[in-house]
Symmetry: C2
Subunit: 127 residues, 2 copies
DNA sequence: TTGCTGTATATAGCTGATATACACAGTATA
DNA sequence: TATACTGTGTATATCAGCTATATACAGCAA
């Protein structure tokens, strides 16, 4: 799992950590009951505070993707992946619709939007 | 000009005020050198603090859309509308591309995106 | 005990939002 | 003319929430 945190970015760091781990779990890179790096270790690796990694872990635990045993460590749960994936997809679609509606409101023609999509998908199929 | 402010929304209130006024200027509802409502009056109408409306006016002044005369009031400037409109359009397109790329990363097929766009544009052409 | 783990507390900085007091411009009026 | 009044924008001090931190506390196991 290779995380890259941008301290100056628009997204909070704990959220970047969270999203990176979530992605690793959802695509199977991290498997159920696997031991996660400790909050300290991960914090050291990413050059952030323990609290930041702890916050990411807490959020992931609330979403049911990992579980924690005090004194032992944090483990991958990953038994409701489908639900999480579906939510992620729906959120992404909703964001997309919102931006598309915004363009419509600005009188951008439908063809322009489709053209942009073709540019994105046409460029490199496998990335 | 009818503004609706949602205090519980995700967007800051001063930004909602700003966007609403900007839209009114860009679509010609507010014309150049027209007197704007005073920060106090607008604050009372919207049930927000003066500081909030003042912040919106300051931002709009920085964008060159209005100008202020202390003791007299705030007036519509609107002589660089084209540049502002172009920026607005580019920003909206960039947002749209970002969300589309996100969907591609989630393995959503191109056809699904186009389908969503057609739904949005097909629904009601003139809204 | 030692060394790992997660957890709780107190603190600092930034941002959104507010109330209140201040300063400027025009106008009515003495 | 001079002054007071009422409208305008502006500055200061303050509060609440969120992000991020350091540091100290508590649990588990060799």
């Amino acid at each position: 799992m290779n995380l890259f945190i941008n301290a100056a970015g628009n997204k909070p760091m704990y959220e970047q950590v969270k999203d990176g781990i979530k992605e690793a779990i959802l695509n199977g890179e991290l498997k159920a009951h696997q031991l996660m790096p400790s909050v300290r270790q991960l914090a050291a690796d990413l050059n952030v505070s323990m609290i930041t990694t702890k916050r990411a872990y807490s959020d992931l635990e609330n979403e049911g993707l990992i579980y924690t045993v005090a004194g032992k460590g944090t483990f991958v749960k990953a038994d409701n992946i489908e639900a999480v994936q579906e939510k992620q997809l729906n959120d992404a679609l909703e964001d997309f619709r919102e931006k598309a509606e915004n363009l419509k409101k600005l009188s951008v023609p439908q063809e322009k939007l489709i053209e942009e999509i073709e540019k994105i998908y046409g460029g490199n199929e496998n990335e």
